[in-house]
Symmetry: C2
Subunit: 207 residues, 2 copies
């Protein structure tokens, strides 16, 4: 419906707002102003109001946003309300293992339910709730489990192949940690995660 | 000089532009338009032009930006031009080990030169160029090596302590992967990395 008009960066910032609200709701806060949201998220408060205005009127005059109410609304917009998403992980090296144990994914409503790695010592084992399979079983397991979201944590040379296998089995959105640009059919959403970007912006602030 | 007025989000986007330019320079491209930069970075092209306009006039009429020239200018702005930054890492678990092997950091001009972990099996070993020390030696090693940038990849319960040790030894900017908000003196720059944020924004795009 509204999807054509909403900038991708707005959707990304909604995810930042949601994570921030989850943190402050643990501190038993009930209301928050757009100014404070902006400060906590490192985003201009006018941008906060503009992003939210695409979806409705969430603030209350003089009180700001209800934390609980805005969290629920953001979850509904982001399709995270009262539902969990199963995720397939390709690559159980150090990064993949770190991701399997990453609490934030579960808190946010995601469960890595299967993982793929060619290492015979890993195949057949389970980390958290994810059983580890060999890569040639990606199509079979992903389509059986009806998984729509994949994470790529394999070396760059293997990323395109495992991504294609996931997509052919029904995956429609990918989080890609491999340092390569994936070439996939239109209609597949890919988010490239570059861990360097945050580090690169630090020296600017050094005297 | 110009630092007061530049939004943090602009600095972050400059880092995205730089990483993107590094990728396309490998494809032997010499010029790029702000439209194409925007598309490759997932950022509105007007925003690209606005961000760059804080620092000068980099485009050429009818040709766009010189890839090499803009890369050099961005490196100068971000204090990455012809210099390398030493980085201290706290935590050599799965995430820390993945970060030690992460090629993108080195490409961007950073070298993790020392790491800290309490595991006796790890202490004294080296991964890449980083020797691993016990956490009680943070102050000693960080100040001896004159390190200004730290990465926190320890469990949440230990993050505040190791961050304080780094800061007392001279670290002025931190990349924090621990899922806690660090409480540090003003003047210390902290970037919190939340791996969930990108994942959270994916279901929105699923039909």
């Amino acid at each position: 419906m509204y999807k054509e008009k909403i900038p991708k960066t707005t959707i990304y910032r909604l995810a930042i707002y949601l994570r921030t609200l989850e943190k402050i709701s643990r501190e038993h806060r009930t209301f928050i102003s757009s100014q404070e949201m902006g400060t906590l998220c490192g985003i201009d408060s006018a941008q906060v109001r503009k992003d939210l205005s695409y979806f409705g009127q969430f603030g209350e005059v003089g009180r700001g946003y209800s934390v609980k109410n805005l969290m629920d609304n953001l979850k509904k917009i982001l399709k995270l309300y009262r539902r969990r998403w199963k995720v397939a992980l390709a690559g159980v090296g150090h990064l993949g293992t770190a991701l399997l144990s990453y609490r934030g994914f579960r808190e946010a409503g995601f469960e890595i339910s299967c993982a793929f790695d060619p290492d015979p010592k890993k195949i057949g084992k389970a980390i958290q709730n994810a059983k580890i399979y060999p890569p040639h079983r990606i199509e079979e397991i992903v389509s059986k489990e009806k998984i729509k979201i994949g994470i790529i944590a394999v070396p760059g040379d293997f990323a395109q192949d495992v991504a294609e296998r996931m997509v052919s089995a029904g995956v429609r959105a990918l989080l890609n940690f491999a340092p390569v640009r994936l070439n996939l059919p239109s209609g597949i959403t890919v988010k490239n995660v570059d861990l360097s970007t945050e580090l690169i912006s630090l020296p600017f602030y050094l005297k």
